[in-house]
Symmetry: C2
Subunit: 284 residues, 2 copies
């Protein structure tokens, strides 16, 4: 596996690094970023928080804007931020070039529809290929948590619910909570998965959560700003709340007064999420 | 004075806002950002830290990447981040379109050379017009500190040294410490100020610091990464150290091992700078 280091910068006594590698899942080169806390400098292996970003983002948005490194350094947690879609020559984009489908909008699923099925295999990449690569090449353990924002909040919840054995805990900011019932999700699922809605249901966090078995429950924290302009039409956190009630799932959903959809919101509460995950990462 | 609000987002219980206004100094519309800590919501007036950014930046870089709001909110300090040059139709740029002169590269001085003298009056804007505007329109006191990065580190040091009565304290990250002796500074000073080097000397922090009178000394903190790729050719912190020795100036210059020129460096130490300034802001 060839892993090319693209950048390296010291931060809070640890290191932020970017890498590129050929992916066997997405059949193109993928870029990701990793924050290695200072504990790793002395050979200690640390657990990893995977962060899935939202529409239009790359590996850079969270790493540059979330202000997460101080607390990650203190707690001894590595953070891995993958890209939000395959990219490069030959990777199909939205036919209309819109921001909400195609490049920067992979929705963390495995596409079944041509031409997207050739490269848009983000679910396999995030769940299997990337953790294997990270665990083989960096001083980290296989203890993982997962979080994300908006489309990445959908990704984090959906992936944790489908793979409870792989994550200690899950959190999200402003997730697309019920994608089969909102315009962003319906456009993406139609394009990537086709018209058969039974396939869509496998990637919908609210449906997955409503059917979650007791043994598959994991601690889950969701923060949502009540001044988020996407709240009513796209995000629908009330679907998560109803689902959690149905399956008696331990969901903490906090409506944060006055906050919007931006990184100014995420940065305000990211330390809470790191400390939340640390409780479970540290004890497993 | 018409002040147009361009954006507003809650962060750490305070507010980040962007404004545009017609400037009497630069004869164009100027944009700036302000972070108002939560204390201001109850009518309390707080002191202000002015942040001057580096080459290519706008009001956004520091506000999005520095991770400064948590500590500013805790300490009760407002932060104002102006743009780094005039902009808009009719504002002259570098003839070759390079990043180190013209747009995004105003160097915080008053240009004397045509065509730059029409709009490039950033010194007057930062020292006089912007503080007046801020103090008339926001819940802040006239107690000020100043800081900045790279070109903005030059700006912060130079402005504080020329106006000691206006600032309680000054700090900088990776400042262009001796602009008359480095390529960035020589290009900018030639373009904005012409060939007469006596004018250049009025804007050189190391020369100003070497001649600083005892009554004009202010507490000063500088952080510089020793892995900064601009260190030797452009930044020259050793000139500041020598000047401080000459005038017995209370300069703390910290060489930070392994850190580069990026916001990953700034974010690692910005809380130190906020606490440094708070000591003096709170007691004046």
């Amino acid at each position: 596996m060839s892993l090319e280091c693209l950048s390296s910068a010291k931060s809070f006594d640890g290191w932020h690094k970017q890498y590129s590698h050929p992916s066997t899942s997405t059949h193109c080169n993928m870029r990701f970023a990793i924050y290695l806390p200072p504990q790793t400098a002395t050979g200690e292996k640390v657990p990893v928080l995977y962060w899935l970003s939202g529409l239009t983002c790359t590996d850079e948005n969270f790493m540059q804007k979330a202000g997460a490194f101080a607390e990650a350094a203190r707690l001894g947690i590595a953070i891995v931020a993958p890209d939000t879609s395959p990219r490069g020559e030959g990777v199909a984009d939205d036919p209309e070039g819109r921001y909400d489908f195609g490049l920067g909008a992979g929705f963390y699923l495995n596409a079944t529809q041509a031409p997207y099925n050739e490269h848009y295999q983000m679910y396999d990449y995030i769940v299997h290929e990337l953790p294997k690569l990270v665990e083989e090449n960096f001083p980290v353990t296989s203890t993982r948590a997962i979080s994300g924002h908006s489309m990445g909040g959908h990704g984090a919840l959906m992936i944790a619910l489908k793979n409870p054995e792989r994550y200690t805990s899950v959190s999200a900011f402003s997730p697309i909570a019920n994608p089969i019932n909102c315009p962003w999700g319906q456009k993406a699922f139609t394009g990537y998965l086709g018209a058969d809605q039974s396939l869509w249901r496998e990637y919908d966090s609210s449906l997955l959560l409503a059917d979650c078995k007791p043994e598959d429950r994991r601690p889950a924290l969701v923060d949502q700003g009540d001044a988020d302009s996407f709240l009513t039409e796209q995000l629908k956190p009330e679907a998560l709340t109803a689902a959690a009630k149905k399956s008696d799932f331990p969901l903490t959903l906090r409506m944060q007064s006055g906050y919007d959809h931006s990184y100014f919101f995420i940065s305000s509460f990211i330390d809470d999420h790191l400390r939340f995950h640390h409780q479970y990462l540290a004890s497993s």
